[in-house]
Amino acid sequence: MGFLTRSPIQVEELVKLVTAPDRGGVSTFLGLVRDHHQGRAVTGLSYSAYEPMAEATCREIVAEAESRWPVRVALQHRLGDLAIGDVAVAIAVAGNHRDEAFAACRHVIEELKRRVPIWKREAYADGTEAWVDPQQGVGSREWGSGSMESDAKGTAR
């Protein structure tokens, strides 16, 4: 199973991939498409990726988690057009106990967001679209409503 998919993610299939009789703790994380972003109503979005690098980086992150904790990890990220509420990313981690399952699951989602080359273009209720820059808020003069929004938390670089 590839780490990237254009079909709806089957969460139970991911869980089945990692469970085993000796693994009693399973942690899952699902990232869903939200209906808002920084105060703007989102109607849908599209994910794209540098696919060979994204696959290689996901493989690396899973291997890191499996070597750091005694767990098995399954991971999938959607590409293409998604609707509100769709599962954009799913992670399933199984270990002997819950501690390592939770820790590894958290590690995988944080590293995915930090390292995997995937991009998100949001469509808004007012008919505009923008590439999302998590560090600077919704940017892109060409696609936004005409003004750069500043980072609400004031943490932009």
């Binding site: 990232g31 994910y47 794209s48 990726a49 540098y50 060979p52 690098m53 994204a54 290689a56 990220h77 954009a88 990313v89 989602i109 995915l112 967001k113 930090r114 390292r115 995997v116 080359p117 995937i118 991009w119 998100k120 273009r121 590439w131 999302v132 820059d133 998590p134 560090q135 600077q136 892109s140 060409e142």
Partner: protein, 88 residues
């Protein structure tokens, strides 16, 4: 007559998301001459029409691995300019 494989004296550059839209293309082949580092490739792309909006400290990858701007590039490499990542 025997033919032999000649290594390409070019560097393939991949652009994604907003950067591909700025340049109006997502795949370029540049002559490798004069391109010694990832930063050299970035500077060349920024000099193209639409390229100036790409940041000076853009995230880059060489052959599918993230690379710093001073990382060396060689003919045959695939160099990518990565807009801010937004997966998850």
């Amino acid at each position: 007559m025997a033919t032999r494989t000649v290594a390409p004296l070019t560097i393939r550059v991949r652009l994604f998301a907003r950067y591909a839209e700025l340049l109006g293309r997502d795949d370029l082949t540049l002559p490798a001459e004069g391109l010694n580092t990832a930063g050299d490739v970035l500077a060349r792309i920024r000099s193209l029409p639409g390229g100036w909006e790409i940041g000076e400290y853009t995230l880059m990858a060489i052959n599918l691995r993230q690379a710093s701007l001073d990382a060396p590039v060689a003919p045959g490499d695939e160099v990518a300019l990565l807009p801010p990542l937004a997966g998850g």
